[in-house]
Amino acid sequence: MNNSSTIVSVQNISKSYWREKLEIPVLSNISFDIPDGEFLSLMGPSGSGKTTLLNLIAGIDRPTSGTITVSGNNITSLNETSLAKWRSNNVGFVFQFYNLLPVLTAYENVELPLLLTKLSKKEKKEHVQFALETVGLADRMDHSPKQLSGGQQQRVAIARAIVTDPTLLVADEPTGDLDKHSAEEIMILLERLNSELKKTIIMVTHDPRAAEKAHTTKHLDKGELS
């Protein structure tokens, strides 16, 4: 069910994991669409399959059955190399534990996705500076991750996620490892990215206050949308 305002279309998605010979179903026949510019939060208890669903939409995992279309591309039919290229062009990732490379400065961490592009050195610099200014850390670009607080590290991670100007931003528990104040700052930042830069955001969270910032909340329970 694609139309001009739909950016993500999830159709009859099921996902099972295998532990030795035992099949563990995680998602069962899930279908829904996400309109362009949406800020969607996925909530649910642990083990409900919300991170798995996020991973499938972001193209870092493959469904057992069903199709996922993002911006008109059926990502479930892409091979590994094409999928990697698609991710680098279309998706920005924000993880719970930031996942910055400790040996790189904030600037270099944000620059990482641009290593895969053909942008000139000057263009890369402009992109990185814009991303760091957007998250309010332009003055900390030479700092290494361990010289930054948790909230600052997450903001660097968000800058890394938006530096390639992706259409889709996926965030897995972006405030899960932060104190209340830092979490609030991150949510404000995500809201700004959605409203000002028109990023479609899909966020997994346990935190009801974080979910309140989203336009829409979907609940998952035992692998099904409730």
Binding site: I60, D61, S88, F93, L101, V103, L104, P113, L116
Partner: protein, 385 residues
């Protein structure tokens, strides 16, 4: 920033581990190069053999002498150019542990048959004219601080008695393969003394060494000479100088094979040292590789990151090992000059060392590369390292 810069950034994560690994690789390469150099030094005589030189010895054993009369007959064989002959003299100079080759030779032809021993026409002339004259190699002269005009007293063992030689010249080797530790003296001096004391041993030589006009004639000439003395009192065995020298080395074959084996075991150790570091490093970074894959890095990118790091360590370690080998080989060469007159790092050893360093870098990273590229992103992100 380029991907290669990321490789260098990764290298600096654990400086102590990096340092120890590089040292480990350097020591392994050093040991490998040194052992190969020892093996090469053992074969130096074979390598230094001229391809137009042929040796005739007694068919039964090298220790039995051949009559001097064979010289003319050998010289008459078609294809034979210059004929020289030797007696192994040895004896004791200073003390029993002072080993270097001491041989009686034909002063008329020695420098023609051994053109790699460079000296002046005046020395050659003096060598012929001086009854007890001897010529020594430059390395020997340096080691014993000997100069032209000095006397060399030697106590004979194979040929008993007190012998006094006068140094009439010092020869230099034409290249690094030339042995500069020989002491050769006028055969006539030896023969005169033997004639007086042990007449039955006189007019005999230990072996003949001669040059052949055309290399392709060597088998034919050798066969002809052996045929010539087939029914004589002393049958001959004629072979190339390389084969003759190889015969001596064959006696140490087991030791050399063991050394060769150990040198390859060292390559295995090198692989383990580097492989262990790379496996540890890659395991610690599983989550980072998953993050890199998430943002679009492909298997090729990860291969460059991991293999690049491994190759840099192995090349740096290898280069340090090779660099250290040179002064060590020079020192050992000087200390063991009498055992290994030619002790140099052969180009082939150098190529082997570089190749094995590179090979170790590639092989040591193979498993981490496989693991990182085959790992699913989801599993990698869950990894707690």
């Amino acid at each position: 920033m380029q991907i290669i810069k990321l490789v260098f950034k990764n290298l600096k994560r654990h400086l102590l581990r990096l340092f120890l690994t590089i040292i480990g690789v350097a020591i392994a390469v050093l040991a490998f190069t040194l052992l190969k150099t020892v093996v090469t030094a053992w074969y130096a005589g074979v390598d230094a053999a001229a391809n137009n030189r042929v040796v005739s010895t007694h068919a039964v054993s090298f220790i039995f002498p051949l009559p001097l009369t064979y010289r003319e007959q050998i010289a008459r064989v078609e294809g034979v150019d210059k004929v020289c002959y030797f007696n192994w003299f040895q004896g004791v100079y200073k003390d029993k542990n002072q080993f270097f080759p001491r041989m009686a030779t034909d002063p008329e032809t020695f420098f023609d048959v051994y053109p790699e021993c460079i000296t002046t026409p005046e020395v050659k002339e003096k060598f012929i004219r001086t009854r007890n004259g001897c010529v020594i190699g430059a390395k020997l002269a340096k080691e014993y601080n000997l100069k032209v005009g000095d006397k060399m007293p030697v106590t004979g063992d194979i040929y008993p008695g007190d012998w006094e030689f006068e140094i009439v010249g010092i020869y230099k080797g034409r290249d690094k393969k030339s042995d500069e530790t020989w002491m050769v003296f006028n055969w006539n001096y030896l023969n005169e003394q033997i004639r007086a004391t042990q007449p039955s041993r006189a007019e005999h030589v230990g072996w003949y060494t001669f040059t052949v006009n055309k290399i392709d004639k060597i088998p034919q000439v050798s066969k002809q000479i052996d045929e010539l003395f087939k029914n004589s009192e002393a049958r001959t065995k004629t072979e190339t100088e390389a084969a003759f020298n190889q015969g001596f080395i064959s006696m140490s074959g087991a030791i050399l094979a063991a050394l060769e084996f150990v040198s390859y075991v060292i390559v295995g150790i090198l692989l383990l040292v580097l492989g262990n570091t790379m496996v540890m490093s890659a395991r610690e970074r599983i989550r980072e590789y998953a993050v890199l894959k998430t943002i679009g890095f492909t298997s090729s990118h990860l291969t460059i990151l991991i293999m690049g790091e491994s190759i840099i360590i192995s090349i740096v370690g290898g280069a340090i090992g090779i660099a250290l080998t040179y002064p060590l080989v020079a020192g050992i060469g000087e200390a063991l000059a009498r055992i290994f007159p030619i002790f140099n790092i052969a180009p082939s050893t150098l190529i082997f060392a570089i190749f094995f360093s590179l090979f170790a870098g590639v092989v040591a990273s193979a498993f981490p590369v496989y693991r990182a590229t085959k790992m699913s992103i989801v599993d990698g992100l869950r990894h707690i390292g």
